[in-house]
Every structure is written in C-alpha cells, then in structure tokens.
Homo-oligomer: 251 residues x 2
DNA sequence: GCAATAGTGTCTATTAGACAATATTTC
DNA sequence: GAAATATTGTCTAATAGACACTATTGC
C-alpha cells in the first residue's frame, strides 16, 4: 500500500526523562508532582512535548535544563555536564487516557546536585531513591511504606532506565557520569555499590579500575574529603568502552 | 507549563524494520525497493505507519508478516518464529522531506528463509549482505561496487541494528534466533562467524557453548547435513542471558 | 593509640585460547 | 585412503576474587 502523506494517523510525541544520580549512597531518580489530571498529585517522570522542528535528543536536553538547570555533556566539555542517551519508546494506545501519545524516553546520568529548581517550584520536584519508587525494590527490611506508583507507565520506564544504567556501567565508563569532574577511586566505588546495590571489595576494585586502560586519568591532586589517608584524584579518561569490563558480582 | 491535549504538534509515527538473517555465511538484511518518491527506485528498510489503536510492537509484527510472511516468536512457541525487539527511535526533523515522521525502529532476527514474498511482488524485496549495504563494511577486497545508500536515514538505522545484533549475541542466547528449531553446534558457530565477521576455533567454541548452562538442549537426533561426522542436534535452552558470555575475539 | 580510608602484594581456583588427537561420516 | 566435520583432551597464560599487610590521615 503506497503511503499517503495527507492521511496519516496523528500522534502526540513526548520525551520523558529518567534522570539518575547517586545521593547519600542511594541511587535516586528525579520525579515531579503532577499538578493536574490525570494522576493529579502523583509523582511522575519529568518530560514534555517535542516541538515540531526539534530533534528528539534536543527536546530531551531542553526538558532537562528546564526542569533541573542541568546541562548535557557536549563534545567540548567532556568532563562536565550530564550524560544523555535515548532509552526506549513507549506507545501503548492506552498509556495516556486523553489521547494517543508516543513517548521517547531518555536516560540521564548526573553527578549529585543541589536540589533541583523545577522552574522555581521547589515543592513539586525532588530526588527519590529508586528503591522507594519501584515495587520490587522495597526489599524485606524496608518498613512496608509503599508509596503510590508513578503516574502513567512511568514505573516501567524508570525500571527500564535503572536496568540500563546497571548494565551499562559494567562495560562502559559511564559510572564516571555520576561523579564530579574530579573524584577518588573510593567515590567511584561507592557509585558502583549504590547503582548495583552490592558491596565491593575496595582493594580489588582499586586494582581493577586503575588497571583498565583509558578509564581513569590521575590529576595529580589528592583529597581527604572522605576521611582517612589522602586519596588520589582522577578524572574520566577517554575510553568509553571498558576492556576488561567491570563485573557485577553474581546474582 | 501545563499540557493542553487540544494543542499538540502532530507527528506521523512509523515503524521501520531491520530484519537480519544469515545466508551462505553472510549476515543479510531485508530491503525493499521504493516505488515512489522520495528516493524512488532506491532500496529501503521495510516499514509503515503505526495504526491509531495499535501498539508499537504489534505494528512491527504486522509489518513483518505483511512483508515476509514471517511470524514473530510468541510466548508459547518458543523455538519457532523470529525474535523481535525495539531498536531505537529516529526523529530528526529533516529525515523525511514530506513531513515530520518519527520512526520507531525494530530489530528482527530470523532463521534463513526462502526468498520473501512482499505481498506478491518478488522483484521489489530481497536479502542483501549488510557488507554491501553499509559504507564502511565494504572492505578492501570487495570489488569497488558501492551500491547507492539506503533511502532516508536507513543506513544509520541498519548500522545500529547490526551493531545491536553483534553485541547482543555476546551475552544473550539470541544467536539461536538465526537458526532453525534444531541445529548443530557447527551451524551455531557459523552464525557467530557470519555476524561478527571473524573465524572462531571450532573446538573451543564447542566446549564453550555446550558448557554454558541453559544455552543448548540436546534433542537426541543427529544430522550429517554439513558433511563429515554426524553432529548432535540441539534446540535453544531456556536461558536468555549467557553466563559466562561468548567473547568476541578482540578487535 | 584508635578508627577510618587508601593502596600494594600474594595466593588460588577458574578460565580463555592454542592446539594435539580421535571419531565418524562421504567420496 | 583422503577430505571433511565433530568432539574430547591437554597445556599455559591470564584473570577474578579472597584476604594479609602497609600507608597516611583525623581524633
């Protein structure tokens, strides 16, 4: 059947953002409170419409800046800003009760930030531990407080984003996107521990990351911000894929 | 800014398919010839509009069946049919000169098939080696024949699909999706060799795949369809992730 | 000194990869 | 027998993980 440009089903296209960071040893996601129906008062992922002349990635970067003030890592400033990549697209016909919306979800990995501003409305945006947002993540010792699920299909989108982050830090250097421009091996290890939810041997971890070519570059400085013996400071090296990969302790 | 259902930018949403198979030791993709402008006469990936009440995955499965007669693997028939997964979404404002089209690309891995039918028009659909379709894949000994690039941004979509397939057979059992329901270790090895474009040691490969739990299940039968000593027949085991992974020989 | 974190060294069980050797078919 | 493929076995270098030990700070 030849396709007719004048008669195609109209869709709305949005971007939704899974923005992850590590705060106080916990993997956290950015959520905003919905001010109107449907799902009024519920938490949701930040996002919005793609403009008619705007690329998908540009729309995601724009929404990110609007909601958090955070900038996306450009080709120049390789060691500041957040990492952004496309995650997946969600287009179930019933996912939005008002109309047919196809949402192109994006994943953002950001260093720990001061509490976001959300265009001035500080009460309607917050960092929430993903364990508290996802049904299965509660664990046995979590005191039963199961908050309302995220609006729409955002729980599933968040779960997909978290799983992507967990698997991607295995074989890429993306864990450094959670760190400030300069960081110690211990800080990087705590990122892995928070994202994977496991404890790692500090000694083997140190040997492993410093021995992986291109992963870390020493800056010469040291810091004692974690207490104890001063630690060398590093920045992210040029490598994007890690060979050998970091191995997640077996399940 | 609250979002107004009555005023959103209208988009067309399509699905495009990267359908891969292995034929005569080569990784091949399904392409169709365009019968109308733009890019009239050029080869393109199969695809079409998502219907207004249709899920994205369902649209992809429908297009696949329409173009090839191939069925997608359901939850029941785990060892027949093709594997389908979402690949990525392409929405550059200029990617289609006629209008704003967002395409949700899907990846299909299929066993070797009789030449597809394309709704009866056998001249406008074919399997083409991906090396011949992708600019960089030509290699030094290919006799200079560089066919016209695929229409739209389909070269990039195809390249992304091929890369996804190459990396995914490392840590998942998806290589079996390229095989018939029963296959030998040698046939599976030739799939890996074709997809990665490398030669693998048959002896180490055999030990590796038969030793990975859940990857292969012997059916009891044997075959000599490859010549030589009869080989055991296997079907895909229940495992979806491979532990340990198959390692692509280093680059 | 004690507690905390950083960093190095060593041992062992496992594994990837090279490759010899044997098995079973077709011609 | 020759050629082809399948399958098992063996050896070696590299590696992951466990863990002892030392180093350097703040209290």
């Amino acid at each position: 059947m030849p396709y007719d440009p004048s008669a195609f089903p109209p869709f709305a296209v949005t971007v939704d953002l899974v923005v992850l960071t590590v705060r106080r040893h916990a993997l956290c996601a950015l959520v905003v409170r919905r001010g109107e129906p449907p799902y009024q008062g519920r938490w949701a992922l930040p996002g919005g419409f793609v403009r008619i002349e705007e690329d998908l990635g540009a729309a995601a970067a724009r929404e990110l800046t609007e909601e958090t003030g955070l900038r996306v890592q450009g080709p120049d400033d390789l060691h500041t800003g957040a990492h952004l990549e496309q995650l997946a697209t969600y287009g179930d016909p019933g996912r939005d009760p008002r109309m047919r919306v196809v949402s192109v979800a994006h994943l953002v990995l950001a260093p720990d930030l001061p509490t976001p501003t959300a265009g001035g409305d500080a009460d309607s945006v917050r960092w929430a531990p993903v364990d508290a947002l996802l049904p299965s993540g509660g664990g046995p010792d979590r005191s039963g407080e199961q908050p309302a699920l995220l609006a729409f299909d955002h729980s599933r989108i968040l779960a997909d984003g978290v799983e992507r982050a967990r698997s991607k830090i295995e074989y890429s250097s993306l864990a450094t996107a959670f760190c400030p421009p300069e960081f110690t091996v211990g800080e990087l290890r705590r990122v892995y521990e928070a994202v994977w939810g496991v404890a790692l041997d500090p000694r083997n971890f140190h040997r492993k990351v410093t021995g992986t070519p291109g992963f870390l570059v020493p800056t010469g400085g040291t810091t004692t911000r974690q207490g104890g013996r001063p630690a060398q400071l590093f920045r992210a090296g040029g490598a994007t894929v890690l060979n050998p990969p970091m191995l997640r302790p077996e399940v």
